[in-house]
Amino acid sequence: MSSDHTHNPGFIRKYVFSVDHKVIGVQYAVTSLIFLFFGFSLMMIMRWQLAYPGDAIPLIGGWLGQYLVDNNGVLLPEGYNALGAMHGTIMVFLGVVPLAVGGFGNYVMPLQIGAPDMAFPRLNMASYWVYVLGGIAMLASFFVPGGAANSGWTSYPPLSVIANVDNAHHFWNGQTIWLLGMVLLITSSLLGSVNFIVTIVHLRVKGLTMFRLPFFVWAQLVTSFLLLLAFPPLEAAGVLQLMDRAFDTSFFMPTGLVVSGVVRDEYAGGGSPLLWQHLFWFLAHPEVYVLILPALGIIGEIIANNTRRPLWGYKTLVYSVVFLGFMSFVVWAHHMFLTGMGTTMSNFFQTTTMIISIPSVVILTAMLLSLWNASIRFNVPMLFALSFLPMFAIGGLTGLPLGLSASDIQLHDTYYVIGHFHYVVAPGTIMALFAGIYFWFPKVTGRKMSTLLGHLHFWPTLLFMNVIFGPMLIIGLRGVSRRLWDQTEYVLGAEVQGWTVMSSWGAWMLGLSQLPFIINFFYSAVAGKKSVENPWKATTLEWAAPSPPPHGNFAEVPVVYRGPYEYSVPGAKEDFQPQHLSDAKLS
């Protein structure tokens, strides 16, 4: 094995088609960051139409093409729907998940368990390239006749099945390519998840028992099981929808559809549109935890490191995360309360939904209790990690009125839902991902990021996240439906239009606030101050490797002597005791 790690494989094998988990991790991270910014840009365009309905989009309106804008540069309703569908798809499946799992998981997890690489390096490479293919498919769909998919990121049939099929290019249109793209992305996740599970179970170094694993590794392990078990149903459903579109089967198409006055009897009929929703949400609810758990893992690492004390209730945290994983499989239909569900079903799903809120409260409480009697260092990663706590709290709490079926009647499919899940994923998960980038950047590049630019990034980002999503909760309580091209069409929408304008300005300002980060990221990677091996005085194994770690990671295989967060141990010389140093070496 060691000879394998010393030979020089050449540029292409080393940096493009690499099998090294660190190179793949960086590839995932950079690709997904680009997709995150692209997906966010789509939203910045939509926010113009929302704030100023019917006004031409300034600067770029003329360049957006016939599928998105009219001759005057005004965003078309179908263009708006396409941007909305693609924003959701790109942010979730091409941005956050690949960054949290493919990026952070790939890079950090093997280091934290002392492994030289993932268990199946070639599978790892395949997973990344299948993801890239999925991304290319999604991007290409903007340029096919009719433009990109425009039936929402949820792609509910019959709308999605009949979308664009009547144009000349029956098959190669946005929705079809979206389905193919999803099949590729899910395949990529599946390949990754198998690899993660095997790696965590088999490649831990000597002494690293399951309850000595860093919390981040536990989070990745549970996430991998969710990816493994929840994603195949949507992959199957995607293929079925493809059949409905391409070959007029009727898995999701009921009998007797009449669209624009035309009886659509090419579909045999007898299918159920609700079947899609069940399959979709069976994936998409665990998906929420795929977005959240790695973020919680990152937050745990950074909070332990910067409070200089062990994470409060490590085992409680682990059990809570495992419990969350299990429960996330039995709450999916709370997305479907208004599909005609009876009392028995809704009572089951609202009860499980209330139950799943308990471990989330426990995890948040544990993180907060970790602050008690701490010695808190306010560095940039810690600022992002701390901001995650109240933001995630808002996201979680606003889930309650949606999880109870009675209050959901009023709030379902309104902006309240948008506000809720964005608080979980944007000021929540994305803040955690930023925290992770600032935290592990010195390990990956061997250089530090600028603290000043970090502050210039953090404060406006936190402010504008709230300027965007806070008003959405108000607009939603007022009763305004989501996905409206122009909410001023309605009395209630017109009343709260001011909040929508504010939200839009928040989004554009948030875009500007990312400039310091982009500069910091690229400048520091090339010319940042050199960093030592363990700049944060951390305890976990990744900090035992050189910065950046060479191919194969560790000069000699480490042995683990203790748990992951032995900070401020009474009587110890230093306030941290790395996992890989024996007691003899520490004294």
Binding site: L338, Q350, T365, A393, L404
Partner: protein, 329 residues
């Protein structure tokens, strides 16, 4: 009580306040929890900052308080679930108005991008429909000829305008011709997906007429400075179909606002007008249904009981479609 809390729109449904109560209690609970967490959080950040507390304590803090807090959270959630949400949902889903309450039964057939309201007429029986008879302009729900089904003779179909009487149970049988829509009337605390191939019943009872609702929803608006320009057009557009209710008489109450009126108001030095929507009770589509999703708007017209009967007697005589909503995609 009409005064809305937590930005909720006015409630004009008999049992809508039950939903409002759950939403209000939940938000109070959420706010208390958030403030308690927030105060503790802020205290920790200040008290345990590295400069104030250079050495951290290894042992976990005792967590009696937090355990108690978790138990309280569980108990409150259980109460909200069992005491409020389950019974309210039961009313909305499994306690339809009984025959002795003489509910008005109506079919609502959603389509891209309109609401077809199918009244059974005095016989209370809906005429048969067949998909192949659908004609978007003349027969939007595909009713058969009266010779084939006599029940159809007194049926009446209205597009986008949904007339109902106040204080009577309304039972809607909701379905869709094409894709999934969602019938949402925020003021009536009603929302239900309309799914092709399924007919789903929902019910509600309005306690205010449209006119009474209009009064509740009257608000003061600033008159834009440039009355002739684009801003005025937008102002009128964005506050669609608003009518002035009062103000020193230069424009009489009850008038539908136009750009001309704005000029008059500005000439008279009036900077603010009280406006109310002409149709205050909108039906929105809440489920993405295509490019016209945003304009899939219907109006509820809520009459006093007698006025409703009078309206129906007149409307039912001839097949009129108030709104020739020939939508294309």
């Amino acid at each position: 009580m009409i005064a809305s809390s937590f930005w909720l729109p006015p409630n004009i449904a008999e049992r809508g306040s039950e939903i409002d109560i759950i939403i209000s209690y939940l938000h109070i609970f959420m706010a208390v929890l958030f403030v308690v967490w927030g105060v503790y959080f802020a205290y920790c950040l200040v008290r345990f900052r590295a400069s104030a507390n250079p050495t951290a304590t290894y042992a976990d803090a005792k967590a009696k308080t937090s355990k108690a807090a978790e138990v309280i959270v569980i108990v409150i959630e259980a109460i909200l679930l069992v005491g409020f949400s389950i019974p309210v949902w039961a009313y909305y889903r499994s306690e339809p108005p009984t025959a002795d309450k003489n509910p008005l039964t109506v079919r609502v057939v959603a389509q891209q991008f309109a609401w077809n309201i199918h009244y059974p007429g005095p016989d209370g029986k809906f005429g048969k429909t067949r998909p192949e008879l659908i004609d978007e302009a003349l027969n939007p729900i595909g009713l058969v000829d009266a010779s084939e089904d006599p029940n159809r003779a007194d049926d009446y179909v209205s597009v986008n305008i949904f007339h109902i009487p106040k204080d009577r149970d309304i039972l809607v049988r909701l379905t869709s011709k094409d894709v999934i829509h969602s019938f949402a009337v925020p003021l009536l605390r009603v929302k239900q997906d309309a799914i092709p191939g399924m007919e789903i019943p929902i019910w509600f009872k309005a306690t205010k007429t449209s006119e009474e609702t209009q009064k509740i929803m009257t608000r003061a608006y600033a008159v834009p400075e440039s009355a002739a320009g684009r801003r005025a057009e937008k102002f009128i557009n964005r506050n669609r179909l608003l009518i002035t209710m009062s103000k020193n008489g230069s424009v009489p109450a009850g008038t539908t606002l136009t750009a001309e009126h704005l000029k008059t108001l500005i000439a008279d030095g009036i900077t603010s007008v009280d406006l109310a929507p002409a149709f205050p009770v909108n039906i929105q589509c809440a489920q993405l249904c295509g490019l016209g999703h945003y304009r899939m708007k219907g109006q509820m017209v809520i009459h006093e009981s007698d006025d409703y009967e009078a309206w129906f007697a007149e409307a039912g005589v001839e097949e009129v479609f108030e709104d020739d909503e020939e939508e294309d995609d």
